[in-house]
Symmetry: C3
């Protein structure tokens, strides 16, 4: 068999390292496409001149673009037969990625747990993206519910990894040069609010909404060379539970991040992913809104140039976020599609 | 309040200068996306080799792409609460923009006039785009009808600027190097017709039509970091007057310009905008056609290498332009969506 | 008349050479857009680092992207009034094209044959793409059925060229540097199967499906500056035989090629086109699947670094390819949309 139908739960081996296929050279074209897909306006990623003034050699690629490219490589080996993407933990952006860099990815199987019905199992992986010099640019854990090929197959080992609830402040900002706060132009950046202007508990409605089209999420997901069938094949989807193509969860993350500019314009870098949940499926035609809560603020040891905001960004579909919809007594508000917990950096 | 809900009429101050957010480095990727969005075929902008032979150091970015990027920056400060974009005047392309350049924008409030119903007012601005060296690349005036936050608010000042009906011939072509007419290859450019072959009064039906999709105008408008809500939010639009997302007027201008290649292939540079009106809204699914009339021809002082055509390009929706639809006794023909008056240059 | 309404059958002259308009500089942005449009994952074209290790100076542009750009230039002169694109023969990729290169195209009319009903005629052309140094990068023959302007017009000459059924193995691979098989990393390339692992008669179902949206094929076809009206104008199309815009046949070829990665991941270069037929029209909303048969395997004289697979790739719409649908007693299976015969190279 020369084709890849994807791994099933019983194909994964605890401790195994998987080198993923198709390294990809990312360029300024990926940055432009990313702007066209999400309308991001963070100045460090938009302007080489602004980035240079702030301390970078040039604009780095958007952090989530790097995430999506690395994530995309893992799909054919990890999640082609996934039923659901369950969660993320301990994600850290380790090194800036600039146009011209070639990214590749490796995953280690760090946990396996068969479901009680024996039809599926949860696979835990730590995936790491590398640049062409072999340095890690991003690492994160995720766990996915994967089908078994044969329900009778016996799981070889069972292990649930102990993952941190949040990345510690000392582990933030390694990807960031020393930021020159005096040269960081707040007017050009789009907001006068620096790190010190935000406080834990503060909630921000990002106001704007963005409707997603089939062509858009398909273009994005292919750009990331993410091959999950559920995003692309309407002929198969018409007979599925939803009857429609599902939008890649990362597309929603990037929309929410772009919307969050309105209120968090100086959050110039996503430094870490503490956790995240794709609460409900999103389909073409849905309009995405978002709001954020500052969960915590932290100083980063040795870095007087910026501070870190721990943010929960919640995205909804077809419901503006003036009421900050999140959980209700019974679970999530019906409009919620994404609940993301991450650290972002802001100049001090 | 850390979010930007946009300025209302009473927030503008006559004479005020507004530095707009998010400088943007434009690259060859913007040029490629522009080609993908409109199918432009003007040889100077399409081929570095052709541009070099003609006299440029390399292909400059399309003039309207530069306009859209500069325009996009002004939206969050000027027209987020605009009811309508009323007009343009005295637009001049001052300097070629090449890939790698970073663009930023500044607007000056040059006029204010409250509407008689006191619900809205007209804001006149002169917006100027700058390169990273601080040189102006484009300047233009536009006026927009903006909502008042509070109808009872008293306008601080009232002034209607005196704007020129057309840019003078002496002000054209500053962005253009000396064009080598002998090296300008008419076959590669796609037409044997030079400046001298056009005469005032001549009408040209550009023949082709282009249907617009939601994903296309959204990609374009985000590429320009234009954040006007009416283009992106179907959830909000469904309860609006039209029930649909409106397509950015600049998207229609670029479609009309690309269509105008068929008949004006050697109009290699848009040098100035005399005036323009978005006559009717355009929605996804509409097919755009265009025709042009040569309003005037002019020699440019000191420039024997090219001449200037003053053109009216009219775009329609869902109606081919063989009959040159424009105004009727009662106003515009129902099919007309754009009426644009500009100067374009052609080799002599 | 300054506009181009396209040539009719009687406008073509046997032996005539047509230099096509609008040279185009292709860049890494075209490569990124190509990835976004088709999701291609061939490592040589995706990663500069991989390409360098294999023997290239950097990633070359995808072979079909080069084909589409060259093809697009020929459309305004050759096929604007085409009823159908009938076939291809003797297509050879002669030189790698790298980002920054400027492509132009020339066609020679090599055959003319009026249809018996005298309403149309078949025009045979050999089209060749050149780089800015004047070297040929691609050459191919195609024949199209073109309308006559005047059925009474007398054809000036009639000649049906003798075209080869297939390109010979000795004519393959001129565009390819010496491939370093030891440095060609099969894990990164996505498959352990080299040239020697494939045998004539082998059939491969590429498994995955891809649904096409209007915005996608329009973006692609405009990127190639292909101006054929049938792809873009829904207002005109609504009254046509199909009532819809037709998708450019080359878009389907690129989708099939991208899908073929799953089973042919090491087929790193399309070296030649033996023949091809667009069997049935494809519309937005259709889901494209593909399968391939190895028609032949060949060693290339003087090249021990790779071998050549002669492949038939068949694409279908809205029907997975597990049953390898192709011809039935009466012609093609109703689901077949493309039948392409080409040579691809694989490391040995």
């Amino acid at each position: 068999m020369k084709t890849n139908a994807g791994r099933f739960f019983e194909d994964f081996v605890l401790g195994e390292t998987i080198r993923h296929a198709t390294p990809r050279t990312v360029t300024s074209a990926d940055a432009a496409l990313y702007t066209a897909l999400y309308g991001a306006r963070f100045a460090v990623q938009s302007s080489d001149a602004f980035a240079r003034a702030a301390g970078y050699p040039q604009s780095p690629l958007d952090d989530w673009l790097v995430f999506h490219v690395v994530f995309g490589k893992t799909v054919p080996d990890i999640s082609l037969n996934a039923v659901a993407n369950l969660g993320y933990a301990d994600g850290r952006f380790l090194k800036s990625v600039f146009p011209g860099e070639t990214l590749s990815a490796v995953s280690e199987v760090i946990g396996l747990k068969e479901s009680s019905n024996r039809q599926t199992g949860v696979v835990y992986v730590r995936s790491t993206g590398f640049d062409s010099g072999g340095e890690a640019v991003l690492t994160y854990c995720r766990w996915v519910l994967v089908r078994k090929r044969d329900p009778a197959a016996v799981a070889r080992a069972e292990h649930v990894p102990d993952l941190p609830k949040a990345v510690g402040a000392a582990d933030l900002g390694g990807a960031v040069p020393r930021i020159d706060g005096a040269a960081y132009d707040l007017a050009l950046a789009g907001s006068p609010h620096r790190f010190g202007d935000y406080a834990a508990g503060e909630k921000i409605d990002h106001l704007d909404g963005m409707t997603v089209e089939e062509a858009e999420h398909q273009l994005a997901t292919r750009l990331y060379q993410n091959t999950a069938k559920v995003h692309f094949d309407q002929h198969a989807a018409k007979d599925s539970r939803f009857g429609r193509r599902l939008i890649y969860g990362g597309h929603v993350i990037s929309l929410a991040r772009a919307l969050s500019f309105n209120g968090l314009a100086n959050a110039f870098h996503v430094a870490a992913i503490n956790g995240g949940r794709h609460v409900a499926p999103v389909f073409a035609g849905d309009t995405v809104y978002a709001w954020s809560e500052v969960l915590d603020t932290a100083e980063v040891p040795g870095r007087s140039d910026f501070g870190a905001l721990r943010l929960r960004t919640v995205a909804t579909k077809n419901q503006p976020c003036g009421a900050y919809p999140h959980k209700t007594g019974e679970g999530y508000d019906a409009a919620v599609i994404l609940d993301l917990d991450y650290w972002a950096l802001m100049p001090r």
